[in-house]
Amino acid sequence: MSKMNREIPAGENDLLGQLENASKAFLSRRALLAGAGGAAAASMIGLEGSQTAQAAGGTVRWANWGLYLDFDNKTKKYPTLEAFIKKTGIKATYQEAIDDNDTFTAKVSPQLRIKKDIGYDVVTMTEWKAAQWVASGFVQKFDDAAVPNKKNVQASLLNRPFDKGRHYSLPWAGIIAGIAWSKKALPKGLKTLDDLFAPANKGRIEVLSEMRDTIGLIMLWQGVDISKPFTETQFQKAVDFLQKKIKDGYIRQVKGQSYAEDLISGDAIAVIGWSGDINQLNLQNGNRFGFAVPESGGTFSTDNLMIPSTSPNKAAAEALINYYYDPLVAAKVANYITYICPVAGAQEAMAKVNPKQVNNPLIFPTDAMWKNLKVFRELNPADTAKYAKSFQKAIGNG
């Protein structure tokens, strides 16, 4: 059960990852050209069940991560988004504009502060960063009447501390960080962080530049529950461990999604990574890699849809968000991205979409799996700055 093969495009990555993935992203980057005389004709075809979107119109612009929405290679379109356009008559543009929570936010936050349109009506941010957006007032409150499908969100994901009752954000997908390895170099696989940092792997280990995942896994391994308040000493102990492993030459690099390329090239054989990346690699590279949530526990987080405070078309954004919490639509998306699906009823709907995925624990985790996953607790701004600095120092950035 701890072995997982599913596709999660990375939650975060650093600037380098962004750069290195530029070529990859280029292949998959395509701005959806909605329209083509579509809007008017489309609304004629897809009138059924669009009562919530009747008031909405115009265009909705969505910024999301790479490979994070069902895509048809033949038509070069996003089927579920096309269906939305047809159904509602709202034009929708989709951009794989987000490579990293920090860099995307750093880029748009000056505009958000002076209340200038950032060019997107829906953005997708990982939970801890979404919390900062909500706290900074960068988002608009949902009109619950316009998002009736909110009732379909998994109960466990509805009351996150950063947005109790989910008035500003809704989970797009769940992400797991764990340990992964090259099966050729390590046929026995990895079960714990002791296995990961074994002397045999020295110089061939890479960990994520995402603090909450790398430090989170280490803290869990050191016996600290990261979902509950912990002390600075406990945090620092994990950072010190990381720093020592870097100094001693165990960890060759600390990076974002680009660790995947080093796994392929063989430069890295054991990593802290995202299960989805590994699944994607396996699909493309003949099942060469393994993934496990360490016995001491893995980290879980979500990416969240939000409406920026600067969006001029909140109604259209709400219509789009609402649409994706229809269980059948959610099942179609999950079937493609194979993430943890946040929508109740999607598992039943999956029977119609792809029966093989109905019991995929990586889309619909079992209770046993949930038990071994922890969410890194929310940090206040002062702690965020302090811990981020400490982490950056450990990985050589100051």
């Binding site: 936010t105 936050s109 950056q392």
Partner: protein
Amino acid sequence: MAAVVRASGTATSELKKKSLVPYLLLAPGLLWLALFFVAPIITLVGTATKTPGAGIGEFIQTYRWANYWDALTGASAQFGRSFLYAFIATLLALAIAYPLAYGIAFKSGKYKNILLVLVVAPFFCSFILRTIAWKQILGQNGPVYRTLLDLHLISSTTHLTASVPAVIIGLAYNFLPFMTLPLYGSLERIDPRVLEASGDLYANAFTTFRKVTVPLSMPGVVAGTLLTFIPAAGDYVNAEILGNPSTKMIGNVINAQFLNTQDYPTAAALSFILMIAISIMVMIYVRKAGTEELV
């Protein structure tokens, strides 16, 4: 001579009027500099003295000049590394580029233009991609590693990427054209008759090279080393792609402070210190080397 004196005597008022012309001609450039250099620098200096405000990425101006000192001491290792790596990379680039430029200038015959195009050709491809290519070349499954391994020159536990040499090689490679072109420019301009004269005076080839060619190519050496050292010291791409956490340079710190921790004051302070440090080094260097013939 007399004519000149006379002319200057009668046309003083005209000259005064004319003396405005150079300033008018300079105006667009000065305006440009004021707008896109001076103003940002002032903003940068100001940002560096701010202290954290309420939210993340929000800062208030408190004129805390100690930020500069904190930034410098906090990243002293990376500063030292940047200058060391840039220095070695510059020497390496010089060692590679000098024979290359010499060959193109004196020995290439009709292939001169093709060779020059080849020097510049890598620029047609993205800087990032070229650096990533080095990762492949030096990587665990790359040709260099495999060859060295087969020759038993390295053990299977060593790795060539994520190392100091890889970063320096990357820097030297990426800035090689900046070294080669000025060198070529200087060498190409050397009058062959001067070299002949050296031979006529019984200097052998080596002495001619040492006493005539090298001194005459000094402007190219100075320009090339400056054009290599300055960007190399501020570079962060090579350290990021080819290095490991212990090879981070100052550019990486600035990048992380700006984008990851959103500590704009520290990032601004580091940028400013880097600029000043490079300016001082360049000033000393140029004083020593002389710039009279630098074009």
